[in-house]
Structure formats: C-alpha cells, structure tokens
C-alpha cells in the first residue's frame, strides 16, 4: 500500500516537474491563432470589416470581438476557411460590411493626375509608383483592389476597373452553373453549334 502511494506520488511529482519545465522552456510568444487567422484573410487591407487592416481584424476575431463573416473580399470561401479553422459554423457574409465583388484594380487617369502623392500615402501595400509633382501610376500586379486610394484623390482621377479575363486565368465552371451550355465531351448536355 505504502509502496503504491509512494510510486504514484513520485510519478506525479516527476510529471509535474516535466510539465512545469516545458511550460517555461517552450512558451510561445503571442497567440498563434492570430497568425493562422491572418493567413486565411485576403490581405486587401481595405477596412471594410471595420478594423484598420487584416491583422487588427484577425486579432479581433481571436479575442471574440468580431464575427467571421465581416470580410467581403474573402467571400464565401474565406468564411468557410475561417469557420473550419475556428471550429464554428459558417454563416453568410454580413451585408453591412459590403458585398463580394469581382477582383478590381485601380487605374490612374494620367491626363488628370496632379502628382499630389495623397493616393501613395493611402495605399496599404505601396502599389502606387510616383513622387511629388511626378506622374503617379498603379502597379497593376500589386494592387489588391482595396479602394483606399479613391477617396483621397483631390481630382478624382482614380477608377476601379475589373481585371481582364484571359484564357490562361480561365476556370472550368461548376457543372450545374452552366446548364449544359459550356463545351464538353460527347455524351453530356451540349449546345448545337453549326
């Protein structure tokens, strides 16, 4: 009886020491869940969720302050991914925060631009090239379509245009979407051509 108590007691003490040591030695700074949430967000930094960028929104979700359906650029896919990560039910996008639109990029009308740099200061990813009294231009490949450059422009020369669809970016549609109208092999619903 005594040996049993001693044995269990010793084991408990041992494991306790091990756990205590691990808690100190392997401590993780910050909350990794915030990083994981941040990685799922589209990084548009548009502020439509009500927070100052994607990282603050991620932190708010981790704190329980914000809901997962506040990000329009992320769309349904984003909400699904967040729901899976956090183990909650996905819900539809909150319309108060905006709607999910196609990808757009900013284009500066060079005839109207006065070189004031206000848009450069507004761009969260530094995608606008230019300097004071020099022509400004948006680097299309870096633009996330966040719309933040449009309000500051004093001459209203920035327009958001949809990204051009090319054959290399084309995706096969979801089969039920097409109602059989897209080209496909024989034996499946198709359109008459000739």
């Amino acid at each position: 009886m005594l040996t049993a108590m001693l044995a269990i007691g010793t084991l408990a003490a041992l494991f306790g020491l091990l756990l205590g040591y691990s808690a100190i030695r392997f401590r993780v700074e910050g909350d990794p869940i915030v990083d994981q949430i941040d990685h799922l967000l589209p990084q548009t930094q548009c502020g439509q969720c009500g927070y100052a960028g994607c990282r603050p929104y991620a932190e708010a979700i981790a704190n329980g302050e914000a809901d997962i359906n506040q990000c329009p650029p992320g769309g349904e896919a984003g909400i699904q991914a967040l729901a899976e990560l956090l183990g909650v039910d996905p819900k539809p996008l909150n319309a108060e925060h905006g709607e999910h639109t196609e990808k757009r990029v900013a284009v500066i009308d060079e005839k109207t631009c006065i070189g004031c740099t206000l848009c450069i200061q507004a761009c969260p990813v530094d995608a606008i090239l230019g300097a004071a009294k020099q022509m400004h231009t948006v680097i299309e490949s870096e633009c996330t379509g966040c719309d933040l450059c449009v309000p500051p422009c004093p001459v209203d020369c920035i327009e958001m245009v949809p990204v051009k669809q090319t054959i290399s970016r084309w995706k096969w549609p979801y089969p039920e979407d097409t109602g059989g109208a897209i080209a496909e092999p024989v034996g499946e619903p198709g359109n008459q051509l000739i």
């Binding site: 990084q43 969260p124 870096e142 096969w172 496909e184 499946e188 619903p189 198709g190 051509l193």
Partner: protein, 549 residues
C-alpha cells in the same frame, strides 16, 4: 547518377479499368494520307503549347516565308512559332482559338500568296547521331516541336532528363486509343521511315538504353509497316510490342504500366522510373526538322464523323481553319450536329469552324446526333461504383465527385485528384449520367486559382508589413532630426543679443532661398499696358514688409 533499370515484359499487362469502345477508325483510313493544301488565311496562335506564350517577331505588313520564325519562345518551358506558308502578315491580335472556354487569344494571321516559298534552312544537322545531345535539344526547340499526342508539352524539355538522371527506356507511344482518331496510324502507314529516323535521334539525345514502340493490337497495317521498316533497317535496338486494345491504353502512365508493369508514382513523372515517353508523331516531326530542315508547320489531322462526306486523314498546315479541312473532305453532310476538336471522350466542342487547327489538333470530329447524343439530365449518384471499376488510374471517382460537388478542395486532394487523366471512362459508364469529368476539371482549376490567390495574398501581406516598417522608420528618423534641431536651437539664458543674431541669420537664409527659388518670368517681351499694371500691383503685394510670408 541515378541508374534505374526497367524490364520490358514479354507479355504486356492489361491496364486496370478502361473500356472497350468501338474504334470507328476504318472510315478515315480508307484513303491514304494526303495533303490538305494551303488555305487563303492562316490563323496561327502564339500559344499552342504548355508554358509561356511565344512573342511575335514580325509586324503587320511583313512578308514571311514558309518555315520562317515568326514568334520566339520567351522562357524555358515554351516553344517558338513558325509561318506555315509564305505570304503577308495581315493581322496580329485576338482571334478565336481552340479552347474549351471559347475565348480568344493572340494570333498571327497570314494571308498566303500561293507560292509556298520556303525560308532558308538553318535546322538541318549533319551527322545528327554523333551530335551533342544539347545541340539536338536546341534544334528541336528552335523547330518549335511540341508533343503531338495532344498535350503539347515542349519536346526539347522532355528530351532533357536532367544532369543527375539517366534514361533507361524510351517509350514511343503509338497506341492511339481514342475512337475515331487515326492520325498516328495514317502516319505510320505512310511515313514509317521518318518515324524510325526520329526515334533514333531521340534515343541518341536521351542516351536511352532501350527503346520500345507501344502500339495497340487493333492496327495490323501500321504494325506491319513499322515492322517492315525495322527489318529493312536492321535496327536491333528498337522493339515493337502490341498492347491489348482498350481505352485509354495510350495514356502515358497506362502504356508504361502495360509495357513494364511499373507504376509512375502519384503526381510524379515517368522519368522518376528512368522512362521517357514520346508520341510517334513527335518522332516524325523531329526527323523532319533535323534531317530535312522543316520546322513544325504541319501535322496529320483526322477529319471524320458522320457529319463530313469523305472522312480522311490530312496533312494540315498549322493555322488552317477547320472549315477548310471540312471542305477538303467533301463538306458537311445533313447529319452534322456538333463539331469536336479531339475525340469523343476527351475532345471539346468548337463554337464555329473558323477556329484553326493547331499543333495539338489530332482530330476534327463532325459528329451526328447518333454519334454525339444529348445526354439525359444528371440524376443523383446511387453509389453503384461502376466508375471505380473503369478508372484506369486506380482512383475513386465516386469520392472525387462527392467532394467536388461539396467544394471540399482539401479532402478531394486526399483522393489524388491531380492523378486523374480526365479520360472520361467514369462519365461514360455512370448510370445517372453525371458529368463527372466536368466536376474534376472544375475542382482542379479552382484549386490552382485558390493557390495563386493565396500566393498573391501572402505577397500583399509582406508588402503591407514592409510599408508599416517603412513608416515606423521614417517616423523615428523625423523624431531624431527634430530632437537634434531642438537641442541646437535651445536659447542660452539671458543672451538676448545672441538670440537676435540667430533670428537675423534665419531671416537671411529664408531670403536667400526665396531669391534662389524665385519663379522666372516668361513671355515678358511684349506686354500690354493692362498686363504691366497687373505686374506692378503683384510686385507691390509681394515686396518685403507687406506682411506676406
């Protein structure tokens, strides 16, 4: 150096799954292979291959010769494009191209002059079988040769096993398994010598130890022609092994399994086993380029189906509109219902016949309603697993369907979605007529698109963080400058004169700067009275002591 040994089976294996389909090839093989002629206009797309699109080297109005380089390849995984006949470049722009989306892409349009004059030959190689494999690969690249089996992968890349790999077996794919398509068979019956020469060049370029021609056993004529050729040439290193005719025995991985019993690893390549597989048409194209100096400007295309009067195999110039090919085969019949590029299993519908035939076009199928019936609408999946029985890649199409349907792109990859070769066997047997391959294609492009979006987001996040750091840095630098300036400007106690001196010095600096930056007056030679009066008033306002900064 990785040295893998591959054993060729004396008795080829039967591939897993697969379907026995009616061949429907006899119609197009009644006549011998003939040339389709040169059309009035050639529409040559800049992207007829896997990889980056070629970049045009010519401009509208240029005269070009047959075989002239008209677009160069910008990267390693790419192929150049040549003019298929002589004439004038009349347009470079977006035109309908063969693609399931029906979208347009950049093409070079040539109005042919009928002379078919050839450009200077800079592709021919002397003593090609003693040449450096790297030189051979460069010539094959310069000739614009891509895989003619259908995928269009740049051949020069596939002739390069890499510095640390050896090729034990070169497989020549002559197993034309899809119904209706007979272009390879026609090529083998009419130009077996060209094929043999091409195989020899490839064997040398790859330094392959063994060579085998995998051919389906339902083409006795082609087997005979090739065998005769091999016997005459006394070529001992090349074997020809007929494999059981079943669709899709001509798939690269399936053919390798049939001939060697080895499985290409999931998402791997045949080179992982020391094997390289090339289409028999590609071999002929290589021989034509390196021995006769002609780049890839034409290929054999099967034009068939109940919708065309005289099905045939034609030697077609790249860029020929499909309408011209139909005409060369006697025109449409009344039975025509659909136009497919490719075969009935893997082909796609064409929206019009102005679309050109390109390097990867193996067949134009003008199908009747009987040959291409409208499938009934899809019913729910009944989990019968007929699809699993016929999958030649050993996958579970049923599971792939459920996860694609549910848009669960993580789980679907657990079932090896990217090993699907989209052969269509599963869709063919499905009793509920579910368009299974459409679901897999949707899932694949969706996954690729999500991946590229993720990469873009990652980049955007890095840029954002870099910007925040930059702003921090600038703020700190500003603070430091301010602190330094404040320190130097601290007034010494009770020294009023020193302070006055400082203020006077500062005012002097401002004046000097203003004088330096003063705007130069222009157009002041002839001034009207009114203008002179305005200038005087402005000067008065601007003069010092008026209180203006």
């Amino acid at each position: 150096m990785q040295c893998l040994m591959v054993t060729l089976l004396s008795q080829p294996r039967r591939i897993p799954g697969g379907l026995r389909l009616d061949a429907n090839k006899a119609q197009s093989l009644q006549q011998p292979l003939r040339a389709a002629g040169v059309p009035e206009r050639l529409y040559i797309p800049l992207s007829q291959h896997i990889g980056d699109a070629a970049e045009p080297l010519v401009e509208v109005g240029d005269q070009v010769l047959k075989g002239q380089l008209i677009a160069r390849s910008p990267g390693y995984i790419s192929a150049p494009v040549h003019a298929s006949s002589s004439g004038e470049v009349v347009a470079i722009g977006d035109y309908p191209v063969p693609h399931p989306s029906g979208m347009q892409a950049a093409c070079i349009v040539i109005a042919t002059d009928g002379r078919d004059q050839a450009a200077a030959d800079d592709l021919r190689m002397e003593n090609v079988l003693q040449a450096d494999p790297a030189d051979i690969r460069q010539r094959v690249r310069d000739a614009g040769i891509v895989g003619l089996g259908g995928a269009g992968f740049p051949t020069s890349v596939k002739l390069n096993p890499g510095p640390d790999r050896e090729v034990d077996l070169l497989v020549i794919n002559a197993a034309e398994c899809e119904p209706y398509i007979s272009c390879d068979e026609a090529l083998m019956c009419s130009r077996p010598w060209e094929i043999l020469e091409g195989i020899r060049i490839m064997r040398h370029a790859l330094q392959a130890r063994q060579v085998v021609i995998g051919i389906e056993d339902n083409m006795p004529n082609a087997i005979q022609c090739l065998q005769h050729c091999l016997d005459e040439s006394e070529e001992t290193g090349i074997r020809m092994i007929p494999v059981p005719t079943i669709y899709p025995a001509g798939g690269e991985k399936q053919l390798i399994y049939a001939l060697t019993g080895e499985e290409v690893p999931s998402q791997g390549l045949p080179i992982d086993l020391g094997i390289v597989c090339h289409n028999v048409g590609t071999a002929a194209a290589i021989a034509r380029a390196l021995l006769q100096g002609e780049p890839l400007i034409s290929r054999v295309v099967t034009v068939t189906g109940e919708g065309v009067r005289q099905p045939a195999n034609l030697e077609v110039r790249i860029g020929t509109p499909v309408a011209a090919l139909i005409e060369a085969c006697g025109g449409y019949t009344d039975a025509v219902a659909r136009l497919l590029m490719g075969g009935p299993m893997m082909g796609f519908s064409l929206r019009s016949d102005t679309i050109p035939a390109i390097k990867t076009t193996n067949c134009i199928l003008a199908a009747s309603y009987r040959e291409a019936p409208q499938a009934p609408p899809a019913s729910p999946c009944i989990r019968c697993s007929d699809c699993v029985d016929v999958c030649p890649a050993g996958l579970l199409p049923q599971q792939l369907y459920w996860y694609a349907h549910a848009r669960d792109f993580d789980r679907i990859q657990d079932y090896h979605l990217f090993d699907c070769i989209e052969c269509g066997c599963c869709a063919q047997v499905c009793p509920s007529h579910i368009p299974l391959v459409q679901y897999y294609r949707f899932a694949k492009t969706e996954i690729w698109s999500l991946e590229s979006e993720r990469q873009f987001s990652e980049l955007a996040r890095q840029r954002h963080e870099a910007r925040l750091q930059r702003l921090e840095r600038e703020k700190k630098a500003l603070e430091e400058r301010r602190a330094k300036a404040r320190k130097s400007l601290k007034p010494k106690a009770g020294d009023a004169d020193a302070k006055q001196a400082e203020i006077a010095a500062a005012l002097q600096r401002v004046k000097a700067k203003k004088a330096e930056q003063s705007v130069q007056a222009r157009n002041t030679s002839e001034l009207t009275e009114q203008q002179q009066a305005d200038i005087a008033a402005a000067e008065r306002r601007r003069s010092p002591g008026s209180g203006q900064p």
